[in-house]
Symmetry: C2
Subunit: 196 residues, 2 copies
DNA sequence: CGGTCTCTTGACGGAGTTCAAAGCTAGTGG
DNA sequence: CCACTAGCTTTGAACTCCGTCAAGAGACCG
């Protein structure tokens, strides 16, 4: 059953008894999000964090000129939410939608905090997951400050090898921080040597 | 005593008994880092996380062209380390040094993990601190993808109002992601209208 | 097939960089 | 307390990377 994917992720960091797994599953909600459907819309409150069992979600913000900037892709095995809205229960500035039909388990912040008291090991698990997310976010910040668009594209290909051929190229551009036109020129016209 | 600053930060999120405070303090090391001295050098391992009691630290990476990119400033009340190296105990690519004489409490990863078992509330505290750091890091990523250098300078002034006049301008440039020359032009020559 | 969305390509423009030089500030030593 | 040096800031001109705008060429879906 698909719940095993989530349990498998947990077992990498903590050991849960059968009873604890049972208790946890009572707090989860299974949901299918069809391609192009939304899990979270700007202005709403992120009441839940989602664990992706299959498919792929993305979170992004829309700037004042209407351009999308992708914060995170979440393929199988990843957690995704707007952490700001999730922990403060204030309105989100992000949007989360599905790039393809996607199965998720949802855990509400309310239930998460209850579980932290009932099963302290779960608080440990999420502490570790959050630490790792912070490492990734900080690394991406450094990459954006230090590297050229071309180098960032290379890193994207290494980070999300399964996605490269499965999603529109304009989404990759919105992730690495360039326009779709420029990414296209990077991949094709790439060698723009001045003619001799 | 300066330990009260740290306890005060903890009490914002959790309640510690006198015994627990005592136990915690046995695991902390107080240290003074003079201006320009290093807390962490590229190639070392970040064995500790630091809580700043007074003064200010910064963490930064050096790119292949020798340019510094500042990830974080840590004035009074902030925690700082290289989270990647701290949790993996692998070699760091970051450097942490002091912008002025700075007092810190150091907590080693080893001791932190012991404390998480002895005082689960501390794991909660660091879970919350890490969640908040993640929110800040993700927001900065969005800002770097969406905003102009001028707008990012404005945000810096709001985020670190106490630092603006206390640190060299080139450090602000290295934080917002422009050259010192360009930041200078932003502040002065600012209105570069084409002559009529 | 037709329409919409995506990808490509090119000419032009602009935000930010590079390099260089000169003025300023601040720390250091006598 | 002054002098000297080293680093910081400013300013300018040339340049680069990447964005903008526009038009055409696929690619997907009903």
């Amino acid at each position: 059953m698909s719940l095993q994917k989530l349990i498998g992720s947990l077992q990498k960091h903590i050991a849960l008894s059968a009873q604890e797994q049972e208790l946890l599953s009572d707090f989860l909600v299974f949901k299918i999000i069809k391609k192009r459907q939304f899990l979270l819309h700007e202005g709403q409150i992120a009441r839940e964090v989602a664990f992706v069992v299959s498919g792929c979600l993305r979170s992004y913000s829309i700037d004042q000129n209407g351009f999308e900037h992708i914060l995170q892709f979440a393929p199988t095995g990843w957690w995704i939410t707007d952490m700001y809205s999730f922990i403060s229960q204030q309105q989100t500035h992000l949007t989360i939608d599905a790039l393809m039909d996607t199965e998720v388990y949802l855990l509400s912040r309310e239930n998460q905090l209850i579980l932290f008291d009932k099963i302290p090991k779960l608080e440990r698990y999420f502490r570790i997951v959050t630490e790792n997310s912070l490492v990734g976010s900080r690394q991406r910040l450094i990459d954006n400050l230090s590297l050229t668009a071309s180098q960032r594209y290379g890193i994207f290909c290494n980070t999300y090898p399964t996605l490269i051929h499965d999603i529109p190229q304009k989404l990759i551009a919105a992730y690495i921080g360039v326009t779709p036109e420029f990414l296209s020129k990077l991949k094709n016209g790439g060698a723009k040597t001045k003619k001799s």
